[in-house]
């Protein structure tokens, strides 16, 4: 048995949060797992022919169809009675999950396939050069939503895929972060013990797209959670059953100031935009009960 099921030597950038999270996921899931991957960084940096970093069966088809391809893999395993021994994971980035891949994912959830779907959310189309996605946060500067004299960056809030997953009535929905490896592994293990569709939304910093130091990946990931901007929560049977709680949430500026994609928010005149982002964190804190009452 190799030490890791996602081997070193792949071509991810230094400090890639997705590479870190993906290795934690597959090491937790174990060798009896089939990975179905949408097009994106993860597939590109792990499978450049004639090499592959994967020590488990892996299939990549297209950008938007992992939900459907995984449904086919699962149906084949069901047909041959192997679904008890082999787990299926469908994984994608934020664009492949929330935008172009959402229909196939919704179909997969609605049909009740026994599959864990994972979104590695780095909040933009990083593989094509940092373009805005439906999961790009408010006032992020990307190459297609650049901050400028007439724009404070992406004008729209992040789409709530967790709520979309919950609307399908699936048994397990959770969010995790590359900054909290043990929590992430616990959730993968828990999800895979449940039969039926499961959704795990993992926040993964991208040093290239977020423009932070590669050495700061872990710190940035943790600050997203510690400010309330990325709530780590769990839903079982449609009910919230867990949240990573904060004794004292940190101001969002602590998180934002480490990243070049938010640099424009620290110039004079951007105070209101900064306040709006703080208000998003405050709403998350209230909505998901991220601060325990004293």
């Amino acid at each position: 048995m190799p030490e890791h099921l996602l081997s070193p030597g792949h071509t991810a950038c230094a400090g890639c949060g997705q590479a870190l999270a993906a290795r934690l996921v597959i090491d937790t899931a174990g060798p009896n797992t089939i990975i179905v991957n949408n097009t994106g960084c993860l597939e590109v940096f792990t499978t450049a022919y004639p090499e592959s970093a994967w020590e488990v069966p892996f299939i990549h088809s297209l950008f938007e169809n992992a939900g459907a391809v995984a449904s086919g893999v699962e149906s084949a395993l069901r047909q041959t009675g192997r679904l008890d021994q082999i787990r299926v994971i469908a994984q994608a980035g934020d664009g492949g999950t929330a935008d172009i891949g959402l229909q196939a994912l919704s179909g997969m959830w609605e049909r009740g396939h026994d599959i864990l779907s994972i979104c590695y959310d780095n909040e933009a189309y990083m593989n094509t050069g940092i373009q805005r996605s439906g999961l790009t946060p408010t006032y992020t500067s990307t190459t297609t939503s650049p901050a400028g004299k007439a724009s404070a960056g992406n004008p729209r809030p992040k789409k709530n895929v967790m709520e979309i997953a919950l609307a399908h009535g699936i048994p397990y929905v959770a969010s995790a972060s590359a900054g909290f490896p043990m929590d992430l592994q616990k959730k993968v293990k828990k999800a895979l013990a449940i039969r039926g569709p499961k959704y795990l939304h993992i926040h993964v910093p991208c040093p290239l797209g977020w423009r932070h130091e590669p050495a700061d990946t872990y710190r940035v990931a943790r600050l997203a959670v510690e400010t309330g901007l990325f709530p780590m929560v769990e839903f079982e049977g449609g009910q919230q059953t867990g949240a990573y709680t904060l004794s004292a949430p940190k101001p969002v500026a602590e998180y934002l100031k480490l990243q070049g994609r938010f640099r424009h928010l620290f110039k004079p005149g951007a105070e209101a935009a900064l306040q709006e982002i703080q208000a998003i964190a405050d709403r998350n804190i209230a909505r998901y009960g991220l601060v325990k009452p004293a």
Binding site: E43, A48, Q79, R111
Partner: protein
């Protein structure tokens, strides 16, 4: 057993006899009857397959791709817009060398929206790396399914196969069809045992990124496999004929071509009408013949060229058009005849788009026009 059934039913019964592990489709007229027949067989426990209703044709094709990669025999069916929505996945299935079999119930493409027959849909995906077979009769609709699985799953081919049948004309038309017994089919089609599949015992990566150093060779391999199918298709058809006692499939069918001076080249159900027209013309002393393309991709250049040797004037009847150019069969045929150093005059005609009837009179008109103006894409039956 002989039965009076629709072409859709012939396809569904043939598919069931091939026992795919996974079937997935999305409803679109006129493909629906095929999948409805299969759904009811599964519901009645007569067919032990996973029948998965999906939310789009894109997902239907993706789902059978995944199931095929996991080692199962699979089936899907579509038409028109559905096939075009699938087209991204069709290229991917072929590139990944998945032996998927799909029935395309041929229908016109929008706009304007039109649910009737022509062959624009399958012709639009002719470059996808799928073998394309065109049925003439309800009997052949079913027979081509058996041959399609044999072909797709042959280790030396491993290319997906699309069985094309004209919407309504074949899919909804009733004919006496001889449906074989399961034991006979099992003798013709061995169980599917892929050499590679998604399996934790032997972990493999499917669908990698291939850069400029590799892509060209991988595409060449697919092309070579398609060209190799040109040898296998006739031998599978011959096997079929030996076992089931009737001729179906193959590369081309020559009808009264031996001494023909004029010939039409066409594919699909219209060939039945053309044969009747030829019989009538022969009675009148016109030496007319037909070359029916059963296999359109890979294009059987040599078989076409040999069959048309000695024919002076050739009319190609396309039920599709590469707008601004010519009908797709015309272009391929003209190339084949040039390469075969033919002296024949080749005219191209476009007919039957969007379900416009092609009658014996239409065929007579084409034969008449063949002696007149040279055209590469002459529309037949245009209203003034």
């Amino acid at each position: 057993m002989k039965d009076f059934i629709e072409g859709s039913d012939a396809v569904a019964r043939a598919v069931a006899l091939c026992r795919p592990g996974v079937i997935s489709a999305y409803p679109i007229t006129p493909q629906t009857h095929i999948v409805e027949f299969l759904a009811s067989m599964v519901a009645d426990g007569k067919l032990k397959s996973q029948f998965i209703n999906v939310e789009s044709e894109h997902s239907a094709a993706s789902l059978v791709l995944g199931a095929s990669a996991a080692g199962e025999r699979v089936f899907s069916a579509s038409s028109s817009q559905g096939l075009i929505l699938m087209s991204e996945v069709l290229f991917n299935i072929a590139g990944m060398r998945m032996p998927v079999v799909l029935a395309c119930v041929n229908r016109a493409l929008s706009a304007p929206i039109n649910i009737w027959n022509d062959q624009q849909d399958s012709m639009a995906v002719r470059d996808s790396g799928w073998i394309q077979l065109y049925a003439e009769t309800g009997q052949e609709c079913g027979d081509l399914i058996f041959q399609a699985y044999r072909l797709a799953e042959s280790p030396e081919v491993r290319v997906p196969v699309m069985v094309c049948l004209d919407g309504y004309l074949l899919s909804h038309g009733l004919e006496v069809v001889d449906v074989p017994e399961a034991a006979e089919v099992d003798k013709f089609l061995p169980p599917y045992r892929p050499t590679e599949k998604l399996d934790p015992a032997v972990p493999m990566t499917f669908g990698p990124l291939a850069g400029p150093d590799y892509y060209l060779e991988i595409r060449h391999d697919l092309h070579a496999a398609m060209r190799g199918a040109l040898k296998l298709i006739p031998s599978i058809a011959a096997d079929f004929s030996r076992q089931f006692g009737r001729n179906s499939g193959g590369l081309v069918e020559a009808y009264r071509l031996e001494d023909a001076e004029l010939a039409i080249v066409a594919a699909g159900s219209v060939c039945g009408t053309i044969k009747e027209a030829i019989d009538a013309l022969r009675q009148e002393g016109v030496k007319a013949g037909l070359l029916r393309l059963v296999t359109y991709r890979p294009f059987p250049e040599e078989a076409v060229s040999a069959a048309l040797a000695g024919v002076g004037r050739v009319a190609v009847l396309d039920k599709a058009i590469s707008l601004g150019a010519t009908g797709p069969i015309y272009a391929d045929l003209a190339t084949a005849l040039v390469r075969g150093k033919h002296q024949a005059r080749v005219n191209g005609y476009i007919a039957g788009l969007g379900g416009r009837d092609i009658t014996i009179e239409t065929i007579r008109e084409i034969f008449t026009r063949l002696s007149g103006e040279e055209v590469s894409a002459g529309f037949v039956g245009l209203k003034g």
